[in-house]
């Protein structure tokens, strides 16, 4: 009932891009002949893109890679960042923390442009390699934020009590400290997902991962931008889809983590009391 309402907004917003992304490729027809790039009309109801392809056709095709690569890369980044951050938050050995975190700082200071360029030219990684690379670029950042969020929880007496019980590291780290930092983690992940989307498209242009003219919303936004004033749909539609995806996922996160009622906040409590 109310839970339903909480999720309603996020669900509606995320539904369009998600459905398009997952089902689009199933309903896509024949691409048809190319037209002149960046034109409207001629049977292309969203016009043509930078190489004269039908934009709607590309939109239908372009969601799956976006969603999958971005999700995979983000997940991968956290898979590394969270344990690293939690180890360093929970350890008493300063040297271990420095050993884990300082090298990541080095990575932060290296322009990611250089990294991607290098990877682009030395290996020529496919989608999986791209996800790895993008994840790698995101690890130091994510690790620092998780570390900062976990710092306070890791020092709580509850952690001491868990240690006293001989609780496993994973339970302490993930089950308690991670759980306490969950909201920050979700917020960070939600935004990072979007950053990752665009990093994927930048990388594509430099020759990593997907082809530079791939049907991929982020790539579309990037590559069609020259025609923004002549044929805006080629940018606007995929951009809106990405906006919806970002907004929707984040709102869903928000709703999922919403406090049921805030202890100590009188106003909400009284209302609840009266509602009965």
């Amino acid at each position: 009932m109310t839970a339903y309402r909480r999720f309603a907004l996020g669900l509606t917003v995320v539904a369009v891009p998600l459905v398009l992304a997952l089902l689009g490729p199933l309903f896509v027809g024949d691409p048809g002949p190319r037209g002149v790039s960046f034109t409207l009309g001629g049977g292309h109801w969203l016009g043509t893109d930078f190489v004269g392809r039908d934009v709607w056709h590309q939109v239908l095709l372009g969601g799956r890679t976006v969603v999958l690569t971005a999700l995979a890369a983000t997940a991968l980044a956290y898979l590394v960042a969270v344990p690293v951050a939690l180890v360093s938050a929970l350890t008493r050995v300063r040297r271990l923390e420095e050993l884990l975190m300082r090298p990541l700082d080095v990575l932060l200071a290296v322009p990611s442009l250089l990294l991607i360029l290098l990877v682009a030219s030395v290996f020529s990684p496919g989608a999986a390699g791209l996800a790895l690379l993008v994840a790698l670029v995101n690890v130091p950042d994510a690790a620092r934020i998780v570390r900062a969020a976990a710092g306070e929880a890791a020092a709580r007496p509850a952690v001491e009590a868990l240690r006293m019980q001989g609780e496993t590291w994973w339970r302490i780290a993930v089950g308690y400290v991670g759980r306490s930092a969950l909201r920050t983690l979700a917020a960070d992940a939600g935004i990072r997902l979007t950053g990752v989307l665009y990093l994927v498209s930048t990388a594509a242009f430099l020759g990593v991962g997907v082809a530079p003219d791939a049907a991929d919303w982020a790539v579309m936004v990037d590559r069609n931008r020259t025609g923004l004033l002549v044929q805006p749909w080629a940018v606007v539609v995929p951009a809106l889809l990405i906006v919806a995806l970002t907004m929707g996922t984040n709102l869903l996160f928000d709703a999922a983590l919403e406090k049921k009622a805030v202890p100590g906040a009188k106003a909400s409590r009284e209302k609840e009391g009266r509602r009965r």
Binding site: G35, F38, V51, G52, L117, F205, P212, D213, T226, L229
Partner: protein, 494 residues
């Protein structure tokens, strides 16, 4: 439609004197210099052109036009050329002399240095060449060179005062060009003032400022917002958006950039000329021009230099013929062919063309794998590596194209087109004094390239320039790199 009218207007009318024109170019960042011999980018050339002169420069059909050289005269064997200089002075008041010319050319060919024009000046034997008078030079060549004037017009072969050194160029460059130096901030702007003593007539403008804006949309926005009056190198889409609007003028310089795929003829699968022909037949040139150039260009016929002097215009236009292509491939035993097409974001339209050609080839049963390469080292990577790549070239005389790219010892022979008989034809042309006879030899060479060459030349891109409506006198028939392109001494502000 209105555009055409305006354009004729812009070159006619009475010039008005005065004003400052700001021109936006893509630039080279903080390492830009005003040394004309180091000129590499369009912005460098535009600045060099304003400050300096060459002995000759290219006309609209890429034939050499006299500039500082008043006239040139070869001997019988075409290996000694007498060049007479016109009366001109440098900005510091000293006359331009034969000594300056020889100094400039010697500087360019300095073995310690690596100036770009060095390769172009290679046929000249500078040790043997000498000044025969205050304003006359005798150039001794290593071999007969009928097209010697092209050398005088070569990219970067500017005349600087004797003893000018590297450090002078950034602080106080002195040339003989239409504008004098005022200030220069590398990667940002360069301001020049009118040279009232210019031999070709003083410019109309009081001042010209070159500003650097690497991003195309920044140049357009600056132009639309009245921050500059001239924006070089615009996208076709931008041109389309503003052509009708009337806010700004769009100038299209036709036939400026040759667009091609380049097949390495010395290795499989392109060492078989049937495969090369099949590829010629696979290309749907119209689709490529529409898709990759957004329609802003003309289709090509696998020959360089459409509209230039000596262009073999009589050869039939090649059309897509997938059936024939498939048959040829079959004959060559190259069914289910797989090739990698190298491309890179190094030039506009490259990645687009690659994608489109990949799809076209697929219809003929050829699988093309598009590989994005590093844009900073692309040209040197594709020179020897790979089998198939995207290629482009700015305007240059057909002779230069042949000599630089298609002879056994050419420095940038990207198609690996190495044939003794072809080299011989080139030598024959260079030793032929009569122009029509020479044209016939060029025709034979081009026919050969048309049937079995390594360049699949699918189009010629327009070079697009935007100007404010007040800017008049911008030449519209000058492909990029020619004399009248980016030339500001004939431009005025209405």
């Amino acid at each position: 439609a209105g555009g055409t009218d305006d354009r004729t207007q812009s070159t006619s009318g009475t010039p008005k004197r005065g004003g400052r024109l700001r021109a936006a170019f893509a630039g080279g960042g903080a390492s830009e210099t005003l040394d004309p011999h180091l000129a590499n980018l369009f912005a460098d050339v535009a600045r060099a052109k304003a400050l300096y002169d060459k002995l000759a420069d290219y006309g609209a059909d890429l034939s050499a036009q006299p500039r500082l050289a008043e006239k040139w005269e070869p001997n019988k064997t075409l290996d000694r050329w007498q060049v007479t200089l016109r009366q001109a002075t440098f900005h510091d008041g000293k006359p331009v002399t034969a000594k300056d010319v020889l100094y400039s050319y010697r500087r360019i060919t300095d073995p310690e240095q690596a100036f770009r024009a060095k390769a172009s000046l290679e046929p000249v034997d500078l040790d043997a060449s000498r000044a025969t008078g205050e304003r006359s030079v005798e150039f001794v060549l290593k071999r007969p060179t009928a097209e010697f004037p092209n050398i005088l017009a070569a990219f970067g072969a500017y005349i600087v005062p004797e003893n000018a050194t590297g450090t002078d160029f950034d602080k106080k460059p002195v040339g003989s060009g239409p504008f004098r130096f005022v200030s220069f901030a590398p990667g940002r702007s360069a301001v020049f003032r009118r040279n009232d003593d210019y031999w070709d007539g003083a410019p109309h403008l009081d001042e010209i400022e070159f500003v650097v804006a690497n991003e195309e949309s920044a140049r357009v926005n600056a132009l639309l917002g009245g921050q500059v009056e001239y924006a070089h190198e615009l996208n076709p889409t931008t041109a389309r958006a503003h052509e009708a609007g009337g806010q700004i003028e769009i100038v299209r310089l036709r036939n400026s950039a040759m667009q091609a795929f380049c097949m390495k003829t010395d290795r499989a699968p392109f060492d078989d000329k049937r495969v090369r022909e099949a590829f010629f037949l696979i290309a749907d040139r119209k689709e490529l021009v529409d898709g990759a150039l957004s329609g802003a260009g003309e289709i090509g016929n696998d020959l360089f230099g459409k509209g230039y002097e000596y262009y073999a215009a009589d050869l039939p236009q090649r059309e897509q013929d997938l059936d024939k292509a498939r048959a040829l491939l079959k004959k060559a035993g190259a069914e289910k062919l797989k090739v990698t097409l190298d491309t890179s974001a190094v030039a506009a339209g490259f990645t687009e063309a690659a994608g489109i050609f990949r799809d076209q080839a697929a219809k003929a049963g050829v699988t093309i794998d598009v590989k994005m390469g590093s844009k900073d080292s692309y040209w040197s990577d594709i020179l020897d590596g790979g089998t198939l790549c995207c290629y482009r070239s700015g305007a240059m005389p057909i002779e230069a194209h042949l000599s630089q790219r298609l002879l056994t010892d050419s420095t940038t022979n990207a198609t690996k087109w190495q044939h003794k008989d072809f080299d011989a034809l080139y030598q024959q042309a260079q030793s032929t004094r009569d122009k029509t006879e020479r044209a016939a030899v060029y025709e034979r060479m081009q026919r050969r390239l048309y049937t079995e060459g390594g360049f699949l030349i699918w189009g010629f891109a327009d070079w697009i320039i935007g100007t404010a409506r007040t800017v008049k006198g911008v030449e519209t028939k000058a492909p990029a790199n020619t004399l009248d392109w980016a030339r500001f001494d004939k431009v005025w502000l209405a």
